[in-house]
Each structure stands twice: as C-alpha cells, then as structure tokens.
Amino acid sequence: DAGVTQSPTHLIKTRGQQVTLRCSPKSGHDTVSWYQQALGQGPQFIFQYYEEEERQRGNFPDRFSGHQFPNYSSELNVNALLLGDSALYLCASRLRGHYEQYFGPGTRLTVT
C-alpha cells in the first residue's frame, strides 16, 4: 500500500518563475491538503481539495493555486515566485470524514 508521494524531491527556481508540484494521495484517500513549511517553523495550511474543488484556503495569495484530478492526485502551482516562497511544501491526504492526515516527504523549493 503506497503512502503519499510527492514530486519532485528538490527544485531550484529563479524569482519570477512559475513552479508546479505534484502529489499522489495514499490509496483510498480522497482529500488532499497542501502546506508550506519554512525553515524552523511549523507547516502553514495553503488549501485543501476534495471532489476536484478547493474547499478551504489559508492565508496565501492568489499566486498559489491548485488542482485535483479525478484520481485524487493534486498539483500545487505557484506563479511569480518570490525569495520568500523558498520552503518545504508538504502534501497530506486523508479520507473524508476522518481526521488523521498522512503526509508525503515534501518538495524542497529554493528560489534564487
């Protein structure tokens, strides 16, 4: 039973560029959430997807957008990258109605 997978593992981008991160949820899970974790901080909620729609959003600008596909996998897109977007981006999945989330290993994004 595969857990949550994320790709790529590491990514280096330049200011102003755009990036797409990918996540495949744990088998049987239908809800995907994305988090941003800056160095030395806890994860910050970006948004959550269920039934291919954004259900809840944290305090992040519109430069952050996402998508969920019919197979429940998800993408996180960030436009016009800023230096401050450098962080570990975590994807978490769960089964709707359950509280426990399963996290992927994360994508380390560095913006130079």
């Binding site: 160095l39 806890g42 994860p43 975590l90 509280y99």
Partner: protein
C-alpha cells in the same frame, strides 16, 4: 497564522528519561493531533485526542488535553535516541477540520 504554540522550543534529554512537551491553542477545537518530523521530512501522525477526551495512550506516548486551559501535553516515556525529532501539535481551527493549524514545534534531542 499559527494556532498552537509548543513549549519548550527545544528539549535535550538522556536516553531512558521521559520527555514532556506542551501545546497551547487559542480557539475551540474538535480534536488535537500530535505529529513527529525527522530532519525536515514529512510529518508522521502520532496520536489524536478528541475534545471530549482528557487522556490517551499509545505505546510509550501519553497525551492529555485540558480544554478549559486550551492546552495539551505529550509525554514520551523511556525515550530512545530514535525519538530525536521535532514534535508538532495541530488543531482544527474554529472546529473546521478542513484547516489544520500547526505550532512551531518542539525540537527533541535524545542523547545516547
């Protein structure tokens, strides 16, 4: 914004000793969860305690919840070097499980 705040920020103990970490939060919750993170990797779910529970055990872990004080504690008994990690509490902000709020974490070091 952060919902939970862990205390202490860092804790260093010897193998075999007990480790206690505390978490305080601000708004009413449905449940509180504790997660572990090793070296900036993905988070691992440890235990969930519901708002109507006061104490819960899982192996060497003991979690308490005091909703009147809006606080929780995580006790790790008979610690091992492998317990070295960052520990985070997470709450569902405003009773909305779509939005999990994490604290900044406690960095635990267990010396062999």
């Amino acid at each position: 914004s952060q919902q939970g705040e862990e205390d202490p920020q860092a804790l260093s103990i010897q193998e075999g000793e007990n480790a206690t970490m505390n978490c305080s939060y601000k708004t009413s919750i449905n449940n509180l969860q504790w997660y572990r993170q090793n070296s900036g990797r993905g988070l691992v779910h440890l235990i969930l305690i519901r708002s109507n529970e006061r104490e819960k055990h899982s192996g060497r872990l003991r979690v308490t919840l005091d909703t009147s004080k809006k606080s929780s504690s995580l006790l790790i008994t008979a610690s091992r070097a492998a317990d070295t990690a960052s520990y985070f509490c997470a709450t569902d902000a405003q009773g909305n499980n779509n939005d999990m709020r994490f604290g900044a974490g406690t960095r635990l070091t267990v010396k062999p």
